[in-house]
Amino acid sequence: MRRTLIRPRLVVGSPFQLLLLGCSFALAGYAGVRLLAGDWFQVVLWFVGAAVLHDLVLVPLYAAADRALTGALGAVRRREWIGYVRVPAALSGLLLLVWFPLISGRVDERYRLATGLSADGFLARWLLITAVLFGGSALLLALRVRRATKQRPSTDH
C-alpha cells in the first residue's frame, strides 16, 4: 500500500527540477545544434572525450601516482614527508599540463613564424621552475628535520 503511494514520486522526481532541466536542455540544444553544425562527430568526441579523459584517465593516473608515493614513503616510515614531494610535483605537473603545447615544442614553428618570438626556452623555463619548486621543498624539509633533531635529542635514546 505504502509502496504504491511513494512510487510515482520516486520515478518522476521533483517537478521544479524537471522544469529547470527542461529549460537548460532547450538552451543547450539551441546552442548545441550550432556547435555541431560543422564536424559534428569530432566535436562530440572532444566534448565527451574531455570528460572521459579527465575522469577515467587523468584522475586515476594522478591518484595512483599519489598512492604509490604515499606507499613508498610509508615503507621507509617517512609518511609525514608526503607534502614535500606532493606539492612541487603537483605544481610542476599542472604547469606541464596547461602549457604542454609550448613546453613540448609541438607548436614551435607556428609560434616563431606568427609572433616573431623565440619558441625556445619554454622547456628550459619549465624545468627551472620545477627545479626551484623541488629545491625549495627540499630546503624546507631539511630545515624541519634539523630543527626536529635539535629539539628532541633525548627522545631518540
Binding site: 537548460s24 539551441y30 560543422g38 574531455a50 579527465h54 575522469d55 596547461v98 602549457w99 609541438r106 621552475i129
Partner: protein, 420 residues
C-alpha cells in the same frame, strides 16, 4: 555491502578530504569565477561588432544568442585590453580550482543505481554537459592561446557555442546546488567559530567516505595547495599584459618573456608579415597605393600623399583575443574621419577595411561609425616616432581605441566608407 574494489562502492573512495564542505568552497569560487568568464566572453564577442558585417562574424547562425549585442564603444580606450586580460588570465588561474572541484565529486560519476528518478537521470545527463562543457571550454581556450589549433573547427565557433551549451548546464547546476552549498558553508563557519550546537551533519554527505584513509593533508592544507597552484599560474601569466620587465615574469605563457625586438617597433606582434603572406613588392613606396572609396568615388593615395594630410597622434594599446596586450604605443597617422570626409562622408559612416593579406580570417574587417568618428582612430603611418615596421603593418594600419587586435587591420590596401 558492495565490492570495495569497484568505484561504484562508496568505500572505494578513501580520501578523508572529500566532503560537502570542500566541494562547497570550491563550488562558490567557481560560481563567481565562471560567471566573470562568461560575461567577459560575451563582451569580447560583442567587441567584434558581429552584427555590423559578415566579415566580422564568425558565427552567422547565432540567432537569439546574439540578443544582447550592442555597438562596441571606444571608451575607455583600454576596455578590450582589460576585458580580455581578465577573461584569459582568470581562466588560466581557475584551472586548479576546476580540477580540484572535479576531483572532489568524482565518486558521484560512478554512483549506482544510475538514476533514482526521471529528474535524477536528467540531472546526470546535464552533468555530462557541465563537466564536458567546462573541460571543452578550458581546453579550447588554453590551446588557442598557444596557437595549437588541433580542435575540430574554428575557435570562435567552438568557444562561443560551447560556452552557451556549458552555461545552460551551469545555470541548472547552480540553481540545484547553490542552496546546499551555502548551507554547508554556514555550517563550516559555525564549526570554525566552535559552536558545536550548530555543527550538524552537512547535506550531500554521500561525498564523505565511509572508510577514510589516514589523512595526509588537512583541508586547510588542500585549499592551500589549490590556491598556491592558482597563484603560480596567475603569477606566470599576468605579465603578458604589460610591456617591459613585467612581461619577463610571464615565464611559460605565449607572448611572455622578451619583446620581439628593440627600438620603436619592438613590441608584441600578433601575426608577422611572413606569416600573413605579405609580399614586400606590394608594400614598397612605388607600388603601394591606398584606395579610399565613398560617396564621391575613389581616391588613391600613396604613403607620401597620406603623410601630407593632417597627422594626429594617439597613445593606444594592442589587445588580442588571446589575452595578451601591449602597453600604450604612440601612433601617428591620418584620422579615419578625415579619410571619410575625403570621400564625401562628413557625417560618421561605417567602413570596410581590406588588407594586402591574401589568406586568414580578418584580412577584411568592418568598423562602425562610432569607431570611425573617434578622434583617436587612425590610419597609422608611424609608431613611437618611426615609420611602422613591416610586421606592424607598413605602409599603413588601422588603430582604434578599445577594439580587439584583429580589427586593427595591418597592411591596409582599401577602405570603403558607407553602409556595409
Amino acid at each position: 555491502m558492495r565490492d570495495l574494489r569497484l568505484p561504484s562502492s562508496p568505500g572505494f573512495w578513501r580520501s578523508p578530504l572529500r566532503g560537502p564542505r570542500f566541494t562547497a568552497v570550491l563550488g562558490i569560487v567557481l560560481l563567481v569565477g565562471i560567471t566573470v568568464l562568461f560575461v567577459t566572453g560575451l563582451l569580447s564577442y560583442a567587441a567584434y561588432n558581429p552584427n555590423l558585417s559578415p566579415v566580422n562574424d564568425q558565427t552567422p547562425d547565432k540567432g537569439i544568442l546574439g540578443f544582447y549585442l550592442f555597438s562596441w564603444p571606444t571608451n575607455p580606450y583600454w576596455l578590450y585590453r582589460l576585458n580580455q586580460g581578465v577573461h584569459v588570465t582568470l581562466g588560466i588561474t581557475l584551472i586548479p580550482v576546476l580540477l580540484a572541484k572535479l576531483w572532489s565529486v568524482v565518486p558521484r560519476l560512478f554512483t549506482l543505481p544510475p538514476a533514482r528518478s526521471l529528474a535524477h537521470a536528467l540531472e546526470r545527463i546535464s552533468l555530462l554537459l557541465l563537466v564536458g562543457g567546462a573541460l571543452f571550454q578550458f581546453t579550447t581556450g588554453v590551446l588557442n592561446v598557444q596557437l595549437d589549433y588541433v580542435f575540430p573547427g574554428s575557435f570562435y565557433t567552438l568557444h562561443f557555442y560551447g560556452a552557451w551549451v556549458f552555461f545552460a548546464a551551469f545555470v541548472a547546476h547552480v540553481a540545484l546546488k547553490l542552496p546546499t552549498a551555502l548551507r554547508n558553508l554556514r555550517r563550516l563557519r559555525a564549526e570554525k567559530a566552535e559552536k558545536p550546537e550548530n555543527a550538524e551533519k552537512p547535506e550531500d554527505s554521500d561525498l564523505v567516505t565511509p572508510r577514510p584513509a589516514e589523512p595526509t593533508v588537512s583541508r586547510r592544507g588542500a585549499f592551500g595547495l589549490v590556491g598556491g597552484a592558482s597563484l603560480l599560474l596567475f603569477a606566470t601569466s599576468v605579465g603578458r599584459n604589460f610591456d617591459g620587465p613585467l612581461r619577463q615574469t610571464a615565464l611559460l605563457t605565449p607572448h611572455g618573456g622578451p619583446e620581439p625586438g628593440s627600438g620603436p617597433g619592438g613590441f608584441q606582434i600578433n601575426k608577422t608579415a611572413a606569416y600573413a603572406g605579405i609580399d614586400t613588392r606590394e608594400t614598397t613606396g612605388d607600388t603601394w597605393q591606398l584606395v579610399v572609396t565613398g560617396r564621391t568615388g575613389d581616391v588613391r593615395l600613396s604613403r607620401e600623399d597620406l603623410l601630407r594630410l593632417p597627422l594626429h597622434s594617439a597613445a593606444l594599446p594592442i589587445a588580442c583575443v588571446e589575452g595578451w596586450s601591449t602597453s600604450d604605443q604612440w601612433w601617428r597617422g591620418v584620422r579615419l574621419r578625415d579619410l571619410a570626409a575625403l570621400v564625401g562622408y562628413d557625417d560618421p559612416a561605417d567602413v570596410l577595411v581590406e588588407s594586402l593579406q591574401r589568406r586568414g580570417a580578418f584580412r577584411r574587417a568592418a568598423l562602425r561609425a562610432n569607431q570611425v568618428a573617434d578622434p583617436r582612430s587612425l590610419l597609422a603611418l608611424d609608431v613611437n616616432g618611426e615609420p611602422l615596421t613591416l610586421d606592424h603593418g607598413y605602409p599603413a594600419r588601422i588603430i582604434v581605441p578599445a577594439a580587439p587586435g584583429v580589427l586593427n587591420t595591418k597592411w591596409v590596401a582599401r577602405m570603403t566608407f558607407g553602409d556595409l
